[in-house]
């Protein structure tokens, strides 16, 4: 088991990639705090974790709220005795073409994807640098390379990469690593909202010829979270079927 005795927090754990990461972490022996704003969906994940015989703690709330984030980190440490892995996966989309994008659409995405990620990153980093060990995994997206209709989302995901690099540089001497996964088009609820015609166009742009499975991203997250990846820091690793080889 690659994460035996480790304690992790996964944000956005109620569905999609975050949910898949949560299950894989549990399978590898970690105890996990599951964070999401959607309580009902999170309870379903909780049930499944219990079925698997895993241990988890639920944190229902909004990562934009700094008090919520701090209490989530505190509760995790109080309940499980430690925090080894922070996975900043929670994100939202509010797609619109640039000339039609509202200020609200922009703000909501930036709030959750950037400010929320910062809040979690900071709270976890303060604890981890104190104990001199830990790893943080941020989730970006290949939309960071620019994706029409997602000006807000792509800007936020580019920001996540920049935060990853800066945090990695700052935290390395404290033996805390920080990396980023950049998934391509993964078959999740977020994608299921896209019209069929657009889906076909997306699929034809992937050299592998198919969408990714959330589990394939989760495998990479497990590797990065494990001690096997102890020398990797500051990196953004694409998991995208070859869509962007940058």
């Amino acid at each position: 088991m690659k994460l035996k005795d480790k304690v992790a927090i996964v944000t956005g754990a109620a569905r999609g990639i975050g949910e898949a990461i949560a299950y894989r972490f549990i399978e590898e022996g970690a105890r996990v705090t599951l964070c999401d704003i959607d309580e009902q969906a999170l309870k379903n994940v909780d049930l499944k974790v219990k079925e698997m015989g895993g241990e988890c703690l639920l944190a229902v709330g909004n990562i934009v709220d700094r008090n919520f984030v701090q209490s989530m980190v505190d509760n995790t440490i109080k309940t499980f005795g430690d925090l080894d892995i922070m996975v900043n996966n929670a994100a939202i989309t509010r797609d619109a073409i640039l000339h039609k994008m509202s200020g609200q659409q922009w703000n909501e995405v930036i709030d959750v994807n950037l400010t929320g990620t910062f809040n979690c990153l900071q709270a976890a980093a303060i604890y981890m640098r104190g104990k001199g060990k830990g790893t943080i995994i941020n989730v970006s997206s290949t939309s960071r390379f620019g994706n029409p209709g997602q000006l807000n989302y792509s800007a936020s995901k580019g920001g996540v990469v920049a935060m990853t690099r800066t945090a990695a540089k700052e935290l390395a001497r404290k033996n805390v690593t920080c990396n980023c996964i950049s998934p391509g088009t993964i078959w999740t609820d977020m994608l299921k909202a896209v019209p069929e015609q657009a889906l076909e166009r997306l699929r034809s742009g992937i050299p592998l010829g198919r969408f990714g499975d959330p589990k394939e991203v989760a495998h990479l997250a497990v590797f990065l979270a494990s001690d096997e990846a102890s020398y990797i820091t500051g990196q953004t690793i694409n998991c995208d079927g070859g869509s962007f080889m940058i």
Binding site: K2, R165, A172, N175, E228, A229, S230, Q235, I237, G241
Partner: protein
């Protein structure tokens, strides 16, 4: 259930397997169950790697040869297929360097660096690819380097060759993914091997350490871990990636 990477029934060819990162990769893949075909020019070093593989219950075959020569490369892949019954994983790891001010670099040195670091990757990938395309399965991992992305003085040939490996990786990755062959690259920074001492011969280890945010060199095993991951089906959605593992040395 936890997922253990199981390479039982898989055959891996590793070039430059006599020491350093290559040896560690061979042992790591063998520990996961792969039968390993070990290549480098120096038979005695290969035998030592093979001994270590066998000591953990693995199967190893030594094939000492210069992989800059086509006939030898073809024979290497043929040997893997005939002796071990297949060829599923190729790790192009053999590399050299001739660090020197550019004005002093000889054409012969340049050619040797290009041959060992780049041409051998072409020859091995092509020869192994003939089997992999046919069987519709393959994992190719090219050892690139942070030096393929970021430059340092007095090593132009090395940097050029490793940058070549990265784009070679990406081009072949797109070309062959339809044959179910994943081609990726791994880019180590400073690793505690003999080659790193060549690279930093002009400065001290301490100076180099200062430039690494994580304040230590990598152990060869840490590089082998990511190679194992990429050699497994867990990384099936990764195509044409260059995964840098450098302790933060070259964070852009």
């Amino acid at each position: 259930m936890p997922v253990e990477i199981d390479l039982t029934g898989k055959v891996a060819v590793i070039t430059g397997a006599g020491r350093g990162i290559g040896r560690s990769i061979a042992i790591t893949l063998a520990r996961a169950g792969a039968k390993v075909v070990l290549n480098s020019r120096t038979a005695s070093q290969l035998e030592e790697t093979a001994r270590e593989v066998r000591s953990i219950g693995g199967q190893a075959l030594c094939f000492p040869a210069d992989v800059t020569q086509r006939e030898k490369v073809e024979k290497l892949m043929h040997t893997a297929v005939t002796k071990f019954g297949g060829l599923h994983i190729l790790v192009n790891n053999a590399a050299t360097m001739a660090p020197k001010p550019l004005l002093e670099q000889t054409e012969q040195e340049w050619d040797r660096v290009m041959d060992v670091n780049l041409k051998s990757v072409f020859l091995c990938t092509q020869a192994a690819g003939r089997y992999m395309v046919q069987q519709k399965y393959g994992k190719i991992i090219n050892m690139a380097s942070t030096g393929g992305e970021i430059a340092s003085p007095m090593n132009a040939s090395y940097h050029a060759s490793k940058a070549g490996v990265i784009l070679f990786t990406k081009s072949v990755a797109v070309e062959w993914i339809r044959h179910n062959i994943n081609v990726n690259a791994v880019g180590p920074g400073f690793v505690d091997t003999g080659l790193v001492d060549q690279f930093i011969q002009k400065g001290s280890r301490e100076t180099s350490l200062k430039s690494i945010p994580i304040k230590r060199f990598a152990e060869p095993e840490e590089i082998a871990n990511i190679v194992l991951f990429l050699a497994s089906d867990l990384a099936s959605y990764m195509v044409g990636e260059h995964v840098i593992i450098d302790g933060g040395l070259t964070i852009p």
